[in-house]
Point group: C2
Chain length 156, copies 2
DNA sequence: TAGAACGCTGGAGTGCACTCCAAGCAAGCG
DNA sequence: CGCTTGCTTGGAGTGCACTCCAGCGTTCTA
């Protein structure tokens, strides 16, 4: 058994839990053009090519004329990247993770650690945001009170 | 009654709820140097000057030799800015909010709306992060399982 | 078979949020 | 007095994550 293989099983598990990025090709045909992928992911074609250049994507299959043809697996990877991007993870770190996946089984532990660290980052980011939410709520109710005070001033 | 004035009451309310940025000057002396503020906020002196240049800070008091002297009110404002920065709000939007505060009472409604929009943004950002957390947890438990499988392979 | 639409490349450009620099002034200390 | 430390300014530079461009080839529709 290889963990690299497992990784892809895992990403397809991403896909089964909830509506994945929704619109997979129903038949086995697994060859999306760059503009289709752009539409599905919300990224631009420019960005997709750039992701590939910097090693954030594996080398993408090409048609006989050299055009990119993305697979469902590529879409799964992009979905993960999208999630990680939301956490504020720098692109360089995601590239590092992509390299670990490419390097194969012996990077298993490192990948695991990286995921756990990321999880902690996400948790503390959520906590920060909840702190901010509290400040905002305090300010909002203050403004609401001030509004009522002004209104009653006017009717007086 | 002015809402602008209220704003500052509000910010000192920020301060009473929980240890504010902790180390206010105990006496009335309310004149921090730029490097003190840098130490208190975690921002660099560069950034503090830049904030002032772009209008994210009001004009800061100066000593008789022209050096900046920050007040507790400035510190409160910086604390709010720090919170808003955590939400990913662009600096330009924070500058807009600062302008509204400077412009006075008649911007009350606009400020209120801006706060409420920001609140919604924070809520959806939290939701996104919780989605990401779920993905991460799924992946992490997958890796943990894979680790156990590899371990039992080794003992077999 | 024409013309539009889409895709390719390497490299340059953009916008944001800082971050630093040079040259100079002011205060405190031995 | 000289030295160090801290602060001032406008403007230039940095790093990140895209974003676009020129010049070309391919593919689709009429």
């Amino acid at each position: 058994m290889t963990v690299t293989e497992t990784e892809s099983t895992d990403t397809s598990a991403d896909t089964c839990a909830g509506p994945p990025q929704g619109n997979r090709r129903p038949d086995g045909a697994d060859r999306y053009t760059i503009s289709e992928v752009a539409a599905l992911t919300g990224l631009t074609a420019h960005t997709l090519r750039w992701y590939e250049r910097i090693g954030l994507m594996p080398h993408i299959d090409r048609s006989h004329t050299g055009q990119r043809r993305y697979t469902n697996r590529d879409l799964d990877w992009l979905a993960l990247v999208g999630k990680l991007r939301l956490t504020g993870m720098p692109v360089a770190d995601m590239v590092r993770y992509a390299e670990l996946v490419r390097e194969g089984d012996h990077t298993y532990t490192e990948r695991f650690e990286l995921l756990k660290e990321t999880r902690e980052d996400v948790l503390s980011r959520i906590a920060e945001l909840q702190g901010t939410l509290a400040v905002l709520d305090r300010k909002i109710s203050f403004y609401a009170d001030a509004g009522r005070a002004l209104a009653s001033e006017r009717t007086r």
